[in-house]
Amino acid sequence: MSKRLPEGGLFIDRNKPIKFEFNGKKLSGFEGDTLASALLSNDQVLVGRSFKYHRPRGIVASGSEEPNALINLGEKEKFEPNQRATTTELFDGLKAASQNHWPSLNFDIGVVNNYLARFLPAGFYYKMFIHPRPFWKYIYEPFIRQSAGLGRAPSQKDHSQYEHFYAFYDLVIVGGGISGLNAALTAAESGLKILIIEQTPEWGGRCLVDFSTIGDETSAEYVSRLVSELKKFHNVTMRSRMMGAGVYDHGYILGYERLNDHLAEEDGPRHRLWRIRAKQIITATGSIERPISFPSNDIPGVMLASAVRDYAVNFGIATGNKIAVYTNNDDAYRTAITLNEVGVEVPIIVDARKSGGGALAERAKALGIRVENGKAISKVFGKKRVEAISICEHKDSGKGNEKIACDCIAMSGGWSPVVHLYSHCGGKLKWDEKMALFKPDSSAKPTSHDGLPFVTAVGSANGFLLIQEVLKDAREGCLEVVEASGGKVKKESFKLIEQEYENSLEAIWIAPQDADIKKRSKIWLDFQNDVKINDVELAAREGFESVEHTKRYTTLGMATDQGKLSNINGLAILSSSLGKEIPKVGTTTFRPPYTPISLGSIGGSARDDLFQPVRKTPMHDWHENNGAYMEPVGQWRRPFCYPQAEETYAKAVEREINQTRSSLGILDASTLGKLLVTGPDAGKFLDMLYTNMMSTLKIGRCRYGLMCSENGFLIDDGVVARIDDQTWLCHTTTGGADSIHAHMEEWLQTEWWDWKVYVTNVTEQYAQIGVVGPNARKLLEKIGGVDVSREALGFMEWKDGNLGKYDARIFRISFSGELSFEIAVPAKQGLAFWGELIEAGKEFQVMPYGTEALHVMRAEKGFIMIGDETDGTVIPQDLNLDWAISKKKDDYLGKRAQERSFMVNPSRWKLVGLETLDGSVLPDGAYATAEGVNSNGQKSTQGRITSSYFSPTLKRGIAMGLVMNGPDRGGEIIEFPKIDGTVIRAKITSPVFYDPDGEKQNV
């Protein structure tokens, strides 16, 4: 029976009871409890089922290394699967449920796997389910998926807040135990800016539990003195409930702060992810106790000795009525002594060492506890709870000769330093044979941007397990680090703390030593993933010799605890199976995060409105308020069309086009890029950037220009206006505003840095509006102030002036084939100007039109669109744009590339118009087929559609496309198969479908 003791518990407040639910059962605990301690206080030892065999699982540990006690926490939008009960602080109304079973925790059908365990060894699925082929998809895999997985999938959107925080410190200390606190205190007086973080709510780590006194103080007094001394330093920041999640290159460290998980009602952000740059990092992350590998060591009630002690001291809990201790080192004797002190019976201490323990063992014996040296647990009785053990000689095959009743086993197989953070960024480890642990190799620390070490492990994280050595190492390690970061501290002599003599640990990787295969099939290494000793042995036998192979083949260490308890034990079994030494087999690579962190915290505040920036033109809100259907274009949203009432998008587009072509439409063209280029060498520069000659453009005139990449492909187009002697205004596509600006800066800064040219992106300085249609001029004349007559402002000319009360620059350019003006006004005047155009345009039934109408109208005119006619593989020559490529220039970007053999190949596909014989609309992206198949058996093709629309103007489908030798094949009919197998026949025509002589735009 696991229960609350009548008194004690450093962390809990017995005056503050808290109610919670587990699997629908109403239970209570105290403030300060974790969910695990509260469950144990209610004798809820069985908390879940294992991954593969669905075996009953109990709480093993007391911290983040817990492999078993994973629960579904909370409900609805706050539901969270796989939460560790051991790190979940109890709050009023907490609701938890166990996982991975059906129909109930106590009776789980999935346990059938357990009885088949012998047929399901490591990697069984690679050898089975091969035939018949369809069965994998339809039968085996669905079954395996259903029985795998752990927690339930959440069903609702998470509404909690998350945020990020950027911080910069000289020194970050991870771990608020005795090493971390002492290191911080040592460093504090140097004046360095220091952050110390602790993943639990409490400072002090294990020392509170391991020592009743430290020096002249109780351990609690000692810790609180250190904490209050540290708090006096303004250069020291202390954060608890914050885990060091990962160390990355150049001193980057992630801190995962859980702000609200311990509260019933969230108040502010749930998690805050600190993205810290540290000059130096100290990992004082302690160490984790290892289980012992003995038969049936996975039955609920088998726990780590340190955890049993934690529950007794910190939470006032006896994890059993009779607790047997099983150890290979002295530390577990502390558990026995502690239990004895709080009145819990310890029927036996089984010590695997023939020589037994040191001073602590003597104390235990003096307390009357039975101690057996050189023994092993050969069997555990019980299914869902430990009922008894039998013991035998350690150096034996495991015939138990004595049965001892107990309901809990406190085991200790030694300690593993927490080296994760030290290793994340390349820190190397070395094997300490005597203590049987991997510890940081101080000669191969992770290095930073300057090539110098930046992570140092101290204390038990550095492989020191005795308190006086821990303190000495914390201080010395810290002094080294402080010096490395340029701080200075006084090197006072250091008062060592007395510690009782400890006999050394004796590594035992399997107990009893000569356990036979039957027993080895019941010794668990990885409790969650059900990996046993015989699985690792099988992997080794089959040639999975690398630790990475074994891990992947057996799934050892791949569970949610990432092998914190199982890795070293598994490695030892692998190395003995291979007959190699442990360091020769090596460890797996440690990667962030140390323990799992919420995806929400990684995303931070970037969700919903803040997911990605939406760029807005000055008229953006007007469009939304007037029913526009918006389409994302890069980071902008542009109106696709403005549907009225029940109108479909297609009908709206038709209406917009008809109205524009017959009278007047206006377009928000503000997103088009506007780059101002000025300087004595600006003309020369633009001649290199554009395929055309821009230096000869006359002031007041506009020219359509093309830009290519050095690889020859067309990347952007737009109208360039000559502003003055040294200044050009280059219009780009919407997407090109930033990329072409960057392109220009790149060439100016990195190739032609002696050319005198400045570029400024003025895209957002202006609202730009297209006024389009036969009545466009009338509308501008109505507003007045600028002479926009044909004589005063010819086609492809621009002028400045006060149009009404607006500071306007008017470009007489057309992308629709109609009489058209593009008018730029300062952005802050944009909305008013738009409003005035709408108001004054009423007599012409003015309509705003969207991007789709724009696309259709330009296609009717045969104008190309970057991104439609081009796709990164098209050169201007493919689009018959040779007229826009200057023959007079020696060079422009992309010119040489366009001379390569494939670029000048006469069989390239070139731009044509396509008219379907039946008037229908060709499918987007359809290909024209040719005779036969290619060498890979694919249908041969001879062209493809680049743009295809229903033209409301021509009342039929029109398309542009690239066709092999297309321009020479006018009138020829080619075939476009549809996906359904039917074929559409289309005639090759000119791409200009509407007003080929330009009579409309030149009026």
């Binding site: 990355y248 290159d249 150049h250 001193g251 980057y252 740059r277 390349g426 290095t447 930073s448 941007h449 300057d450 090539g451 050095e710 690889n711 960057a742 800066e745 790149e746 800064q749 990195t750 190739e751 840095w753 020696d890 060079d891 010119k895 040489r896 590339a897 001379e899 390569r900 053999s901």
Partner: protein
């Protein structure tokens, strides 16, 4: 998560304030060059496992391109320098030589 000191504004810039621009000190080959020269210029890359000269732009800062010498195997940064050069300056080469004895690059080393 890299940090580079921008040689133009002196800021210790975070990787997220920068944009990478690939190998440095490529010679442009335009009209008149051979197919091989053009291919080398556009595509062939040193791609060393070790010391690398590369281009970065301080895009969220002063907007300037700069050069960096960095080890691609350890991510150590030997230094940053002006974009307006045809090769790494002597002080950068000296640092690299002292830290990576035996290092070679094109006709250096």
């Amino acid at each position: 998560m890299l940090v580079f000191k921008c040689p133009y504004c002196g800021i210790e810039a975070d990787e997220t304030e920068l944009s990478p621009g690939g190998e440095a000190h490529l010679k442009r080959f335009g009209p008149g060059s051979s197919d091989e020269e053009l291919e080398g210029y556009l595509f062939n890359r040193e791609n060393p496992k070790g010391v690398h000269f590369e281009r970065w732009r301080h895009v969220y800062g002063c907007g300037k391109w700069f050069h960096a010498a960095r080890c691609t195997a350890t991510l150590e940064v030997f230094g940053t320098y002006s974009a307006q050069t045809f090769g790494p300056p002597k002080e950068i080469i000296d640092i690299i030589k002292s830290k990576r004895p035996g290092w070679k690059w094109r006709n250096l080393g």
